[in-house]
């Protein structure tokens, strides 16, 4: 440690003082320095002389810790889905792509002649495949985003903010594991520049950057972000499994159309309800809760998101009001939709507790909606914000005919309304003060 400290102290001379050799790029050095050692500047001579040990680095790193269960689940489930899909296809008569098509990490770990036994896939097979997909996604997401952030910090001559450490991880978890990396890189660049830095950087953005990245991909590259063919990663063209169709639970339920007194899901026998459609497609509530289903890499597991929520609330870095409000709004709107489901598509007829475990709701309400920058700041505002996100999510899912996922649009919509919600809370605070003072 003494050794490390000496290196830091000696390098400091190269950039810390104005006029020193690398002073123009000091934010880049400073970010590395304060990553290693806590900063040593002291409080001004008047005003409070002590400061809490909490800083933004710790705030953000606690959120990242809370996302670890989701990341682990993403790695495992990506491998699990891959091999489950292959087993099914090979069982239906398709040719096994192994060992003709193997990925870079599989080749590195298992050798060039890797041919896993599809009937008895091991945990190692699944994890290696998952890592093979997720590591490049993480590297691209952090690499592109952080580079741009550092460039902007140097331009502004400000310390590098830690906000993107969370955004980078979020982006990696809300895209399908099959996402082409160049599209991901473009999305990261888009979100850092146009959703964040253009508004002034960390703390001043209107929309959640990770949600903006997802929205960008969703609308710019819909073919790689929606449909039934993108949710299971493979080693084939465009990182999907050629010819494999693995719809998400949301699209199964959405396609369960009303037909006479029955719901008829495409390609499936007649069903009595959208829950039936899900069951016939192989989705039980419990599967959806644990998350071993196709979907965006980190979003599938409600259980992992729940662990993350408990961690964040326990560590005091997320607002439980937003999360509880969101779940309450989801249930309330789910029940309302049930009452009017007769005239609606399958998702309206789903019992509310299914909405909780499907799609990106759980992940979004825990990690995206609680973003302190793009959500309201007042406690009352957080309740309203959460409730509306839950309600709008179900509304979009049930009523919108174009695409079944409502979470992304709900969060972005309410991001836009967050200042308005705060405005009303602030006005009521002002009114209360007027009443109290007469």
């Amino acid at each position: 440690m003494r050794f490390l400290r000496n290196i830091v102290d000696n390098t400091r001379k190269l950039y810390a003082e104005p006029g020193s050799k690398f002073h123009k790029v000091w934010p880049a050095f400073d970010a590395l320095e304060t990553f290693l050692f806590t900063p040593h500047h002291t409080a001004p001579k008047s005003g409070p002389h002590v400061r809490d040990y909490m800083d933004l680095k710790r705030t953000m790193s606690m959120v990242i810790i809370a996302m670890v269960p989701c990341l682990l689940m993403a790695i495992f489930n990506t491998g699990y889905q891959h091999f489950a899909a292959l087993a099914q296809m090979v069982g239906d008569g398709a040719t096994n792509p192994y060992p003709a098509q193997i990925g870079w990490l599989q080749g590195l770990v298992f050798g060039g002649e890797y041919a896993p036994d599809l009937a008895a896939i091991s945990f190692a097979d699944q994890v290696v495949f998952g890592l093979q997909q997720m590591l490049p996604i993480l590297i691209v997401s952090y690499g592109v985003g952080l580079t741009i952030e550092v460039v902007f910090s140097i331009w502004r001559s400000e310390e590098v903010s830690e906000g993107y450490l969370v955004s980078g991880m979020l982006i990696a978890l809300v895209v399908p594991a099959s996402i082409p990396l160049w599209q991901l890189a473009l999305a990261c660049a888009f979100t850092v520049v146009l959703a964040k830095e253009i508004f002034g950087g960390t703390g001043t953005n209107i929309f959640n950057p990770a949600m903006m990245a997802r929205a960008f991909l969703f609308f710019a590259y819909a073919a790689q972000m929606s449909g039934d063919r993108v949710w299971v990663a493979g080693n084939g063209t465009r990182d999907t499994i050629d010819g494999y169709s693995g719809p998400t639970a949301l699209s199964v339920a959405a396609n369960a159309k009303l037909s006479g007194n029955h719901f008829e899901s495409e390609g499936l026998p007649l069903v009595e309800s959208s829950v039936d459609a899900l069951t016939q497609a192989g989705f039980t509530w419990w599967d959806l809760f644990t998350g071993l289903v196709p979907g965006s890499a980190g979003e599938t597991s409600t259980l992992a998101a729940l662990i993350g929520a408990v961690l964040m609330i326990a560590l005091g870095v997320a607002s439980w009001r937003t999360i509880v409000g969101g779940v309450a709004g989801l249930f309330a709107m789910g029940l309302v939709m049930n009452l009017t489901a007769g005239s609606l598509d399958g998702l309206g007829g789903l019992p509310p507790h299914y909405h909780l475990v499907m799609g990106g709701f759980a992940f979004g309400i825990v990690f995206m909606a609680t973003d302190p920058v793009s959500s309201p700041e007042t406690n009352a505002g957080k309740w309203v914000y959460g409730l509306l996100i839950g309600a709008v999510t179900v509304l979009v899912r049930a009523v919108n005919p174009a695409y079944p996922e409502g979470m992304m649009l709900a969060v972005l919509l309410l991001n836009a309304f967050a200042p308005t919600i705060d405005h009303f809370v602030v006005q009521s605070n002002i009114k209360r003060r007027k009443v109290r003072l007469g």
């Binding site: 440690m1 490390l4 400290r5 400073d30 304060t34 990553f35 290693l36 050692f37 806590t38 900063p39 040593h40 500047h41 002291t42 409080a43 001004p44 001579k45 008047s46 005003g47 409070p48 002389h49 002590v50 400061r51 809490d52 040990y53 909490m54 800083d55 933004l56 680095k57 710790r58 705030t59 790193s61 606690m62 310390e159 903010s161 830690e162 906000g163 002034g200 950087g201 960390t202 703390g203 326990a314 560590l315 005091g316 870095v317 607002s319 302190p372 920058v373 700041e377 007042t378 406690n379 705060d422 602030v426 605070n429 002002i430 209360r432 003060r433 007027k434 109290r436 003072l437 007469g438």
Partner: protein, 444 residues
């Protein structure tokens, strides 16, 4: 007695509380009076180097209010008049003489009118002890306050306990209350800790309120908010109980009360205890040594004090002197990520388990400056029903109307000191609030 329970707030549990004993500090060789202790005044010097002054003789006055003088806390020779840029008066230093003489005084009688009392206190140099809310500066003698608030408690970390410092001063305290109650047509409120100290029992002419809970339960801003919130245009006078006793001592003896009791606290202080010391004394008289740059000597508490060099002087309003480590060379490897059971923090993210013992502190910021990211820290430590982040934003946008509606006049920098302490983004909330109050004073 009415008890108010304050729930929002945060007690900084810091090592280095003073022992409950009072010692006499040696007579200082030099004392100083500095205009910078009195925010908002324009000092004009009245003495020259070499002049002999008695205890209570005026040294300088406020150009905005010439009757408000600032007096010598000791008898001796003016050894130095320190001027800064543009001949701004920084300090008047007096080499203390062993034989103390006192300036003539205007007596205060039971029958004195308000105007006579005000004139007497102004002339005696005791008026600056009375501050006013809103804005938190020296009270305007022309304004009739709707109430007087006496603060008999201090919840700041390691701060002197007025109840202890005033033990045995019941007569002075009563005499002081009898003086200040004639300042107002309204009531005189005394705020104390629950189960108030013997010094505060049996006082006539005050309405006693007890405040229970963490800091800022002991700040006058909290007391005003809970007891008698101010309407637009209303003013109250605010004094600390120690200062009421000093005014009482002056009323009883006719002599400028130059001695006071100060708590010496903080882990780096040599002897942590209460000391009786002369106003404006050089700090080594109370601290026993001259502290170097590795220590931070603070006149006041770690929340609201001013840092002084080791050979600096006791501030006019300080009832506590806190000495903590500066810490400018201490850096922890991965300090931002590892659990920290021995660091000062309100957050579970720093150490998740309850029952933390007292911690050592230093003056480091523990993080770089960041744009505001509100994780609810301000609201958790602000019991005044204000929304600090919105108030800050209104001030930063120079929107005075909005700031006033959001309760700007209910606070001064001391009321938001905790916000600054707990902010993960290391913003100085107090500085913004003061900017807003300055804006208010300019525009009204």
């Amino acid at each position: 007695m009415i008890t108010h329970k304050i729930t929002k707030g945060f007690d900084l549990r810091i090592k280095g509380a003073p022992a409950r004993e009072i010692a006499d500090a040696p007579e200082p060789a030099v004392v100083a009076v500095r205009p910078s202790d009195f925010p908002g005044i324009k000092p004009k010097i009245r003495v020259q180097e070499g002049d002999t002054v008695r205890t209570g003789d005026p040294l300088f006055y406020d150009k905005n209010r010439p009757e408000c003088v600032f007096v010598a806390p000791a008898t001796g020779v003016v050894s130095r008049v320190v001027l800064g840029p543009r001949r701004l008066l920084l300090a008047v230093e007096i080499a203390v003489d062993k034989n103390e003489e006192f300036a003539e005084s205007t007596p205060i009688h039971a029958s004195s009118s308000r105007d006579e009392i005000v004139a007497a206190l102004l002339g005696a140099g005791l008026w600056p002890l009375i501050r006013q809310r809103p804005v938190g500066k020296i009270a305007d003698p022309a304004v009739h306050p709707v109430a007087v608030f006496i603060n008999g408690m201090d919840t700041a970390p390691l701060a002197a306990d007025p109840g202890f410092a005033l033990e045995g001063r019941g007569a002075d305290l009563q005499a002081g209350v009898d003086v200040v109650r004639r300042m107002t047509q309204g009531k005189v409120y005394l705020a104390v800790r629950p189960g108030s100290a013997p010094a505060f029992q049996g006082l006539n002419g005050v309405e006693v309120h007890a405040f229970d809970g963490p800091h800022p339960a002991g700040l006058v801003g909290t007391h005003i908010h809970a007891i008698r919130p101010l309407k637009m245009g209303e003013t109250v006078y605010a004094l600390r109980a120690e200062d009421v006793a000093r005014i009482g001592a002056y009323a009883r003896t006719g002599r400028y009360p130059a001695q006071r009791v100060v708590a010496v606290s903080g882990e780096q202080a040599m002897a942590r205890r209460y000391v009786r010391v002369r106003d404006g004394a050089r700090l080594d008289a109370l601290l026993g040594k001259v502290h170097g740059a590795e220590d931070r000597v603070i006149c006041g508490s770690v929340l609201d004090g001013k840092a002084e060099p080791g050979d600096g002087f006791l501030g006019y309003y300080a009832t506590t002197v806190t000495v903590i480590a500066e810490g400018a060379h201490d850096r922890e490897l991965f300090g931002w990520g590892l659990p920290q059971p021995k660091r000062l923090s309100m957050f579970r993210a720093v150490w998740p388990f309850p029952g933390r013992s007292e911690v050592s502190v230093d003056a480091r910021m523990n993080g770089g400056p960041r744009p505001p990211v509100n994780i609810g820290a301000y609201e958790a430590v602000t019991p005044l029903g204000i929304l600090p982040s919105f108030l800050m934003r209104a001030i930063q946008a120079n929107d005075l109307d909005e700031a006033l509606q959001l309760g700007l006049l209910e606070v001064t920098e001391e009321d938001v000191a905790l916000c600054t302490v707990v902010d993960p983004c290391k913003n100085d909330v107090g500085a913004v609030i003061r900017k807003g109050l300055d804006l208010y004073e300019r525009e009204s």
